[in-house]
């Protein structure tokens, strides 16, 4: 069990942070070119020249092209209507249709973005070449820079989140399975007839997992910094201070589940239910800001979301103690509530 506890997070960190990226490459696309003009060929070559798109099929019928959507051969159809170039040259305005397979919503959004960037490039080229710019269009030139993660590096902001998931899972599952396991194998009977106090029992149950959780976090941070070169602008001390309280939140949660259930199966089911909610709504994979208002309100009470935000703040932005103080207070209250409920629910005597 001990090797497993340390092996799993390493694997998870290495696999997830490399695999779970938003970058999509080799998107297959179809061309339906009714125009067959210089500009249409220019458009196609812009797409094929990029790293992101691979030409799958060229046809003269939109219907035929749509077939390959159904067969899952292409994700994007570029439909160039007749007189594409002519209209552009004569009226300075022309249209292209992009049909995107949006089975996977977030992938569709990304494809859309790539395609728009490419067509915008083309737009400028075409405008220059056809010199249809009778009068300069007033434009605001936007210059932007991404602070705290200038390259928008996926791994940089993903690793802190994955570490939060890890610590949460370890805390909830290990403590959640523990007391209920004693119920299953009957050892709890022997302990219940002993004069051992409730708080002693609970402390004894939690401390090992607390150390394992903190150990895992330290281990994960080291891998993040050494292997993934994640910046650590803030103080690791503040991270561990938050984590030490956060562990009590998740351990308390697991313990509460454990005292409410009678079998490991029940405990597993309930723990999963809450973890999936917490993690998916935790702002790790999708931003909290994109959730509807009610979900954002719930996310405020989601310890995973709070810890994830604090971790990114400290590591990427270098936030200090004062910046994460509200989170710390929140954890203290949350942990106290969870632990009190768990201790209260744990009964040495049945009625």
């Amino acid at each position: 069990m001990i090797p497993l506890i340390f092996f799993m997070p390493v694997l998870q960190l290495l696999v997830l942070s490399n695999a779970a990226t938003y970058e999509i490459k080799n998107i297959k696309f179809n061309i339906v070119d009714y125009d067959q003009s210089h500009f249409s060929r220019e458009l196609i070559s812009k797409f094929t020249a990029s790293n992101y798109f691979v030409l799958n099929d060229v046809s003269f019928s939109v219907e035929n092209s749509e077939e390959s959507f159904k067969k899952n051969q292409a994700k994007l159809i570029i439909h160039i209507p007749k007189d594409f170039e002519k209209n552009f040259r004569s009226q300075g305005l022309s249209g292209v249709q992009l049909v995107i397979n949006a089975e996977d919503g977030s992938a569709a959004g990304i494809i859309n973005n790539y395609a728009l960037n490419i067509t915008r490039d083309l737009n400028i080229d075409m405008a220059v070449e056809s010199s249809v710019m009778p009068e300069p269009v007033p434009m605001i030139n936007i210059d932007y820079s991404n602070w705290y993660n200038s390259e928008l590096d996926y791994i940089t902001y993903m690793v802190p989140g994955i570490l939060v998931v890890l610590v949460t899972m370890i805390g909830t599952f290990l403590s959640g399975m523990n007391v209920v396991k004693e119920k299953e194998i009957g050892t709890i009977e022997q302990l219940n007839v002993s004069p051992i106090k409730k708080y002693q029992f609970i402390t004894g149950k939690l401390m090992p997992f607390w150390f394992i959780g903190i150990g895992e976090l330290a281990f994960g941070l080291l891998i993040g910094i050494i292997v993934f070169k994640i910046p650590m602008l803030g103080s690791p001390l503040i991270i561990f201070m938050l984590a030490s309280v956060y562990m009590f939140v998740v351990l308390g949660m697991g313990l509460l589940i454990s005292t409410l259930t009678n079998t490991q199966q029940q405990a597993m089911f309930i723990a999963w239910f809450f973890l999936v909610l917490f993690i998916l709504m935790g702002g790790i994979f999708t931003p909290v800001e994109s959730m509807p208002a009610w979900a954002q309100a719930i996310a405020y009470f989601n310890p995973v979301a709070q810890f994830n935000r604090a971790m990114r703040m400290i590591m990427l932005k270098g936030s200090g103690f004062k910046d994460v103080l509200p989170t710390l207070y929140f954890f203290i209250v949350y942990a106290s509530v969870m632990m009190s409920l768990a201790v209260w629910r744990y009964r040495k005597t049945e009625s």
């Binding site: 194998i185 050892t187 709890i188 022997q190 007839v193 002993s194 004069p195 049945e350």
Partner: protein, 302 residues
């Protein structure tokens, strides 16, 4: 002096009453046996007396402490061995013992005298995981763990269930030794033949106590005379004996039938003649002393 005083204790699970209005006393220093089939309510009763379960009605004291109000005092005075092996299977023999000693705030050395005789049998397997022990060894370890804090009273819930006959005998010898140390021992068992190892027994059935007494008194109070009967065709014999006008009860017992007659002056010839009239062949009749099972059957049928 009484170690345990039970007054009108009841506990039910929904509609099923597991323990139904039980009252009895257990004297200090005796081996007291609760004897009854599975589902008689023995475990429920033990769990109430060891402060694991709150009774619905009635009251009880263990070593003078109320099981509901003063349960904390009881916990350091009793040793409890649940029916299911409930030690840590992934800890070694020694680790289990050390663990339970520290839970009770003591050490193995402090009470080594008490467990010495049992522990020497376990000594060779000191470093073995408890889960890898044989049934008899597990039971000895469980007993050691229940004794580690030198309890005044020991509750053993079906300690010999699933244990081989040799280990069972050994186990009862150990209980005899513990009794000499002044520990009150309350034990439950579904095996009728273990009744004669107890000082006093209580026969339990469906949550009720049928009878509490010394074994010899229970047997002495057996009504009527008892005969072991055999013939060629046993199932017809059973039917004929049940139809006999003086029949009290007939049960098959091993390879013969135990027939109890309601008359006190009946002889085996009376029965022989009756059976001959029913055309039974190779009839064997013998008057026998009732055993605990006969008494249990008799009490149950009332």
């Amino acid at each position: 002096m009484s170690s345990v005083i039970i007054e009108n204790l009841s506990k039910s699970y929904g509609d099923v009453s597991a323990v139904d209005d039980i009252s009895l006393n257990i004297d200090t220093g005796e081996i007291f046996g609760f004897i009854g089939p599975d589902g008689a309510g023995k475990t429920t009763l033990f769990r109430m007396l060891t402060s694991l379960l709150i009774p619905d009605k009635g009251k009880a004291t263990v070593e003078g402490f109320d099981i509901v109000k003063e349960f904390k005092k009881i916990r350091s005075l009793v040793g409890y061995m649940p029916g299911r092996f409930s030690l840590y299977q992934d800890l070694t023999v020694e680790e289990n013992l050390n663990f339970f000693a520290s839970v009770f705030g003591t050490t193995i050395q402090e009470n080594y005298n008490l467990i010495k005789d049992i522990y020497v049998l376990l000594e060779p397997f000191r470093k073995r995981k408890a889960g890898k022990l044989s049934g008899g060894m597990k039971q000895k370890l469980a007993l050691c763990c229940a004794l580690i804090h030198k309890p005044k009273i020991l509750f053993l819930d079906e300690p010999t269930t699933g244990v081989d006959p040799v280990s069972r005998n050994e186990f009862w010898d150990m209980l005899g030794y513990l009794k000499n140390e002044g520990i009150t021992i309350v034990v439950s068992t579904p095996y009728m033949d273990e009744a004669n190892k107890c000082d006093r027994i209580a026969l339990m059935q469906r949550g009720k106590i049928l009878e509490t007494n010394y074994l010899k008194n229970i047997i002495a109070r057996y009504p009527g005379k008892l005969f072991a009967v055999k013939s060629d065709i046993m199932f017809i014999l059973l039917k004929d004996l049940r139809d006999y006008k003086n029949s009290n009860s007939v049960f098959s017992f091993g390879d013969s039938l135990h027939y109890s007659d309601s008359r006190t002056d009946v002889t085996k010839d009376d029965i022989l003649n009756y059976l001959k009239s029913k055309e039974h062949k190779n009839i064997l009749i013998e008057e026998i002393e009732p055993n605990i099972e006969d008494c249990f059957m008799d009490l149950m049928s009332k």
